[in-house]
C-alpha cells in the first residue's frame, strides 16, 4: 500500500524546556514511539505508533510529556465519524475483522449513573461504621431450604458447599496467557490477603499458584484448557464459562505465538499451537446438558465445591438464568456488555449483549417470581467501576460483584485498549519477559488490596448512612434506590421508583 490513510489518534507533546533527555520514555515504550536523535541531541516521537498507554507520561521524571487527542481531522460529519472512516480504511487495507480489547467504550446509557441511593434522616438513625460493627461478609451458594435436626435435637449440617467472602467483591476471570504471570500472582496474593477469590479464566492454573487454591476459582470453558483432577481439587469453586460479556456467542483464540513455555504446559497444549476456545461447549446444547456438566464436576470433586455457571447478559438472560438455577449450579455469574476482554471482534464487543444493571434486575426478579432465588447466588460483572456500582448492584439483587477492569487499572492499566497487540507497557497483558517484569507483584498485590479495602470502607459508609449494618439487609433492597432521568419501562425493569416518588 503506497498511501497511508490512517491518521494518528493521539499526539505526543514534549515540553522542550522540561525534557532533560534522560531517555526513560524511549526505554519504556514497547511500541518504539520515542527515539533519541544524535544530530540534534533531542528526543523525537512517532505519533502513529502511540497507543496512549501513558507509560512514558507516568515515568517521565520531569513531567515533560503529554499525550493529546490529535486535532487533525477529516471533514466533520455527524453520520460518518472519523472513527468509522478510519475503520473502513483499516479494513480496506487488511481485509480482516477489526479487533479490540477491554470493554465496550461506546456512549450507551450507564444505568448505574442514573440510580441514586437513599440515606437516613430524623426518623431512622444512621450508623457510624467507625464506631459500630458493620458486616460485609458474604456467602455464595445455594441457601439451605430447611433446617434438619437429629433425634437429639442437634442441627444436621446439610448446607450446600459455599464460598465465604469477607467483602462482596471478587476478581473476575482473566486467563494466564491473556494476562501475565506477575498479574496473576498479584491477583492471587491479593485475594488471599483480602479473604476473597480470584478466577483463573480458561488458561489453567500455573504450578506456582496452587498454594493459593483456597482463594481460587478455576474455570472450565469450551476449550477445556488446563482442566485435570488436581486443578479441580485445588480450587475453592469451579466456574463453567458459557459466555463472556465482551463477546457473547463468540469463542476465544490465543495465537500459537503466545503458546510458549509455561503457558503451553499450563494449558496442556503443544507449544506453538493455537488455543481455540469454541463458541459453544460442544457437549452443551440444552439446560439438561449443562446439568450433566455441573454434576460431572460435582461428582469429580466429591460434592465439596460450589459450581458457578457464567453467562453473558443477552436478551433472554432471565429465562436462561431460570434454567441454570434449576441445573444444580450453586452460583450464576452474569457478565454485562461492558465487560472487558483481552481481544474481541470490535463489532461484537460494541454491539452485542445488554447492560448488566437491566440483566441483573430481570434475573433477580424472575428467580424470585419462580420461587427459586434461594437455589443460587448471583454474581455480576461487566463494569463495576467503583464502590457505588457494587453497592447499587447488591441493592438490585446481586450477592457479589466480579471486578476485572478495575483490578487491572489498580495494577497500572491505563485502558489503552491494545491488549491484543501483546505489547502491554504495564506488564499486564503481555508475555514478553522484559515487559512482564515491569509489574512487580509485591507492589501489584498491595495496590489491589488497597483498592478493595477502600471500596469496602465506602460500602460500609453508605450502608451506615442508610441505617443498615449488614450487607444481607441491603441485598435486593430496591427501596434504597431511586432512578433519575429514566423512563417508565426502564424503571419497571430495574424494579425501582423514580426520584421523588
Amino acid at each position: 500500500m503506497g498511501i497511508n490513510y490512517i491518521v494518528p489518534e493521539y499526539r505526543v507533546v514534549r515540553d522542550p524546556d522540561r525534557c532533560i533527555g534522560c531517555r526513560v520514555c524511549e526505554r519504556q515504550c514497547a511500541n518504539e514511539v520515542h527515539s533519541f536523535v544524535p544530530q540534534t541531541g533531542k528526543m523525537a516521537a512517532d505519533d502513529a505508533k502511540c497507543v496512549n498507554c501513558h507509560r512514558c507520561v507516568s515515568l517521565c521524571p520531569t513531567g515533560a510529556l503529554r499525550i493529546v487527542k490529535n486535532e487533525d481531522t477529516f471533514k466533520i460529519n455527524a453520520n460518518w465519524s472519523n472513527k468509522l472512516m478510519q475503520e473502513i480504511y483499516r479494513q480496506a487495507d487488511s481485509g480482516g475483522v477489526l479487533l479490540s480489547s477491554m470493554g465496550n467504550p461506546e456512549p450507551y446509557p450507564i444505568y448505574f449513573d442514573k440510580i441514586l441511593l437513599n440515606a437516613s434522616q430524623v426518623t431512622n438513625p444512621s450508623i457510624d461504621p467507625l464506631r459500630e460493627p458493620m458486616e460485609t461478609r458474604t456467602f455464595l451458594g445455594a441457601k439451605t431450604k430447611k433446617i434438619q435436626r437429629d433425634k437429639d435435637g442437634k442441627i444436621i449440617p446439610n448446607a450446600s458447599p459455599y464460598l465465604e467472602l469477607k467483602t462482596p467483591i471478587m476478581f473476575s476471570a482473566m486467563s494466564y496467557g491473556s494476562i501475565s504471570y506477575n498479574a496473576h500472582e498479584s491477583l492471587a496474593r491479593a485475594a488471599t490477603e483480602l479473604g476473597i477469590y480470584y478466577n483463573t479464566g480458561e488458561g489453567g492454573l500455573h504450578d506456582d499458584f496452587y498454594q493459593y487454591g483456597a482463594n481460587t476459582i478455576v474455570q472450565v470453558a469450551s476449550g477445556r484448557f488446563g482442566v485435570h483432577a488436581d486443578y479441580l481439587d485445588t480450587a475453592a469453586a469451579i466456574e463453567i464459562k458459557m459466555g463472556q460479556g465482551a463477546k457473547p456467542g463468540i469463542g476465544g483464540h490465543l495465537p500459537g505465538t503466545k503458546i510458549v513455555g509455561d503457558i503451553s504446559r499450563t494449558r496442556m497444549i503443544p507449544e506453538g499451537s493455537d488455543a481455540i476456545s469454541p463458541a459453544p461447549h460442544h457437549d452443551i446444547y440444552s439446560i439438561e446438558d449443562l446439568r450433566q456438566l455441573v454434576f460431572s464436576l460435582k461428582e469429580a470433586t466429591n460434592y465439596q465445591k460450589p459450581v458457578i455457571v457464567k453467562i453473558a447478559a443477552v436478551h433472554n438472560v432471565a429465562a436462561i438464568a431460570s434454567g441454570i438455577a434449576r441445573s444444580g449450579a450453586d452460583i450464576i455469574a452474569i457478565d454485562g456488555y461492558r465487560g472487558g476482554t483481552g481481544a474481541a471482534p470490535t463489532r461484537i464487543r460494541d454491539n452485542v449483549g445488554i447492560p448488566i444493571e437491566l440483566a441483573l434486575a430481570a434475573v433477580d426478579q424472575r428467580l424470585r417470581d419462580e420461587g427459586i432465588r434461594d437455589n443460587v447466588s448471583i454474581v455480576v460483572g461487566g463494569s463495576c467501576r467503583c464502590s457505588t456500582d457494587v453497592f447499587k448492584a447488591i441493592a438490585l439483587g446481586a450477592d457479589a460483584c466480579y471486578i476485572g477492569t478495575a483490578a487491572l487499572l489498580a495494577l497500572g492499566c491505563h485502558l489503552c485498549r491494545s491488549c491484543h497487540a501483546g505489547k502491554c507497557n504495564w506488564g499486564i497483558a503481555t508475555q514478553r519477559p522484559d515487559l512482564v517484569k515491569r509489574l512487580n507483584p509485591d507492589i501489584g498485590y498491595k495496590r489491589l488490596v488497597n483498592l478493595v479495602e477502600a471500596w469496602t470502607h465506602e460500602i460500609k459508609e453508605m450502608m451506615g448512612g442508610m441505617g443498615i449494618n449488614s450487607i444481607e439487609s441491603l441485598r435486593g433492597n430496591r427501596l434504597m434506590l431511586r432512578g433519575v432521568g429514566l423512563n417508565e419501562k426502564e424503571l419497571e425493569i430495574l424494579g425501582i421508583k423514580h426520584a421523588g416518588e
Partner: protein, 143 residues
C-alpha cells in the same frame, strides 16, 4: 547496617535512579531546572545486558579498600559504617577509583571524586534512587 541493594529480577533498566541520584546531589527543587543540558554524574549506575539490567552503587564494604587506599583521609567510615567523602581533602590522586572493586567511585568535573553516601548529605532524607525506583528493584534494607 542498612544498604542499598538491587533486585535484578525487577530492575527494568530505565535508568531513572541515575537521574534521581544526580538530582538529589544538586539540592535544587525542580529536576528539569537542575539537570537540563547538564552531564550527570550519578553515584549509581545501571549496567545493561541484553536481557538483564542492574544498578550498581557503593557497597559500603566492611573492609573498605577505598578508605584504606586514600592518602589524605578524604574517605572515611562513619560510626554507622557509611563510607563518606570529604571532597575538600581530596587531592585527585584517584587511587580509590583504581582500588574500588565495583567501580563505584568516579571523578567529577572539578576533580574530586564522588560516591554514594546514602543521601546522608542530600535533602532527600533517604536514598533518592530507592524512593524513585518505579518497580521496587532498588531497596534500602538490612541484610
Amino acid at each position: 547496617m542498612k544498604r542499598v541493594y538491587v533486585n535484578e529480577k525487577w530492575c527494568l533498566g530505565c535508568h531513572l535512579c541515575e537521574y534521581n541520584c544526580a538530582f538529589a546531589q544538586t539540592g535544587e527543587p525542580d529536576m528539569a531546572r537542575a539537570l537540563k543540558d547538564k552531564t550527570i554524574h550519578p553515584n549509581i549506575r545501571v549496567e545493561d545486558g541484553d536481557d538483564v539490567h542492574f544498578a550498581v552503587n557503593c557497597r559500603h564494604c566492611d573492609e573498605a579498600l577505598c578508605v584504606k587506599s586514600c592518602i589524605t583521609g578524604a574517605l572515611s567510615k562513619t560510626a554507622d559504617g557509611v563510607v563518606t567523602i570529604d571532597q575538600d581533602k581530596c587531592v585527585h590522586c584517584f587511587t580509590c577509583v583504581l582500588t574500588c572493586p565495583y567501580g563505584c567511585i568516579l571523578p567529577t568535573e572539578d576533580g574530586a571524586v564522588t560516591k554514594c553516601e546514602l543521601c546522608l548529605k542530600t535533602t532527600k532524607g533517604k536514598p533518592a534512587c530507592v524512593a524513585g525506583c518505579p518497580n521496587n528493584a532498588i531497596v534500602f534494607e538490612e541484610r
